[in-house]
Symmetry: C2
DNA sequence: CATAGGGATATGAACGTTCAAATCGCGGTT
DNA sequence: AACCGCGATTTGAACGTTCATATCCCTATG
């Protein structure tokens, strides 16, 4: 009668059925090599027959580990244009399973005390460690967690402390540099940059890549940069002078797909066509990039997730920068169609069209 | 030395410090009314001083409840244009906390056996119930869960069994109907519909609302409907004949923002302007709707999440249809700017511009 | 032939909490 | 004065697992 309970088998049920002790069943589950093959087979059979799975609470209580990694959902960025949170979360969830862990999403309601939520979770032994996202300058979290010897791994560099290597990040500078080289090789002659106001670590990094490449290839001026927040109108506004300055045959590299969309709109308002008239490259390769045929730098979410979970699980090494592959689409082709046969990448290669989606369902 | 452990206080530590028994501390936490005010104050003080939080594993073990609700992440829809998964997840996460629960996201890797993942979770007592999303015709999950008396609540009707009311849904028909009325009142004279192929419950529902309204107001023909999957190119293709049929001064209601974007593109290719020449209304009010100044029907995610968690917690009642408020933007204004002072809604009213975002950070 | 060694399996205890039942103290009732 | 009732608090047991240790039994070794 108790909801969801039913006939759940415990380790003792299995032990009785297989005529062994509970510890032997435990061993079959946790260290099979310790159990004689014949016994192991018998126990395994009973486990399957009874549908036994160790009770996570009991296991967690005894082992003093939660079997869970916490992930703070950043309520500021969620639902924003070009957010890749959902993809990242799916990757984390998928890849936690083989490591015998689950993902515990949480929000930090108290902006004044951002660590309170972490504190709560630790006090209740709800998570064994944390995945940090959106690291920034003066991020209080790494130091706080280090202090308490709580394991963590970040998507994004620990900007304040180069000694901490518990992170995996995307090499933004390499990305924007690749974008410039790509655009130059496509024949665009003047390449500007649309980024965020200085002071954001990620943004500064991406700008620097553009600057380096533009200087190296002599396809622009370090002054050809504009700034905007993520909002579309602001981005469109900020893009306007850049459009003027690079003119037809020029191009704009953007720090995000959202900014690129702003620029895209700015072009349209002037009757200019992305790609044909002015090249455009975004960053993140979010859903809109694909939708608007916008060339973008693809966040290697899968590899990032894998790397981070590896760090949390104590495998692998940190401090790694992954190069975001460039996904070439129409917005960086002067002929209007996807230019090079395959994407220009420094790492993995993605098919030019990148229409590898699993056939879409509704909603 | 053990990572993350440190000096975590247990209930006995608190009991000793406050000079009471463990059960009294437990009572202070779980049923404060049973404890004399003076004692309660003393215990509460010690709880705060020691930073005590009940160990979730121990609690869960004893109570035989996980303190968790499972949410399957649909890997087919995630990352798609206009996905609202991340917003929904944030709402669920936020609103689970006051109900003393957490959200357990999981994926079902085995497409052949979609219930395997649910089975696993139940067997391990990892969740007390499930939040279902993307319900459809012949969804195996409700029956399976009912069979096992596992609590669940769905975002989306249980289409196959009207007797089951463990759901909250958005009234798609009412939404598209409101869209038609809105467009008609804005002066659009011929209103078509771009939806998904028949057979998807959500899609059929949304189409029906359009059909009803168009007939009632005499602003269209039931034949003026086209079908497309979520992919942009296909949508643009499917929209083309509709554009022809309604012509300038006509409008198109779409079953999703992604489809609307397809239509939007189709308009642009013909040199037609959304709003000024042809009205356009999407569905979901996802990030792109806001970005492209696209009128859309807003999924009342907050209310849905609240309703669903209420059902899981045993409060409230199910079988509720929430009316999606229409968020009017430029794409449904013949003058090109947002028409009515406020959105036309049947429930909550949203500011016309709907720029109520919390100042955006990067990434 | 006794015994050491060691692989396979079993037993006792503990993780931290809550439930059920027992105990305590005290004012009110007969 | 003895007892009842009741609120406040305590005690014993149990949730299901794993760790540490103990036991068993068989083979190899001197």
């Amino acid at each position: 009668m108790r909801a969801g309970r039913g006939d759940r088998a415990t380790i003792v049920d299995v032990a009785r059925a297989a005529e062994v002790s509970r510890q032997t069943v435990s061993n079959v589950v946790n260290s099979p090599h310790r159990v004689a093959p014949a016994t192991r087979a018998r126990v395994t059979a009973e486990i399957h027959r009874l549908g036994f799975r160790p009770n996570q609470a009991a296991r967690s209580l005894k082992k003093e580990r939660a079997g869970t990694w916490g992930v703070q959902l950043d309520t500021r960025t969620v639902g924003q244009l070009g957010s890749i949170l959902d993809r990242f979360l799916v990757e984390l969830t998928t890849r936690s399973a083989p490591r015998d862990h689950h993902i515990l999403p949480f929000v930090a309601p108290d902006v004044a005390d951002p660590m309170a939520a972490y504190q709560e979770i630790l006090a209740g032994q709800l998570a064994d460690g944390f995945v940090l996202t959106d690291t920034r300058y003066e991020d209080p979290r790494p130091a706080w967690l280090l202090d308490r010897q709580v394991p963590f791994a970040a998507f994004g560099r620990i900007w304040d402390d180069p000694a901490v290597t518990a992170w995996v990040d995307v090499d933004g500078a390499a990305g924007t540099e690749a974008a410039v080289r790509h655009l130059a090789s496509e024949g665009y002659e003047r390449i500007a940059f649309l980024g965020w106001p200085a002071g954001s670590a990620v943004g500064d990094d991406r700008r620097e890549g553009w600057r380096r490449a533009v200087v190296a290839l002599d396809v622009g001026d370090a002054e050809w940069a504009a700034e905007s927040e993520q909002q579309l109108e602001l981005a469109a506004l900020a893009a306007a002078p850049l459009v003027e300055v690079v003119g037809s045959g020029g191009a704009i590299v953007c720090a995000s797909d959202a900014l690129a969309l702003g620029a895209w709109r700015s072009l349209h308002e002037r009757g200019l066509r992305p790609g044909l008239d002015i090249g455009l490259v975004g960053f993140d390769d979010s859903d809109i990039a694909e939708a608007l045929d916008l060339t973008s730098l693809r966040q290697p979410i899968t590899e990032v997730a894998e790397g981070i979970l590896g760090l949390l699980a104590g495998e692998g090494w940190g401090g790694r920068l992954l190069t975001p592959p460039l996904v070439a689409r129409g917005s960086s082709s002067r002929s209007g169609r996807v230019p090079t046969p395959a994407a220009i990448t420094a790492g993995a290669t993605y098919p030019a069209g990148d229409r590898t989606t699993t056939d879409g369902d509704k909603r």
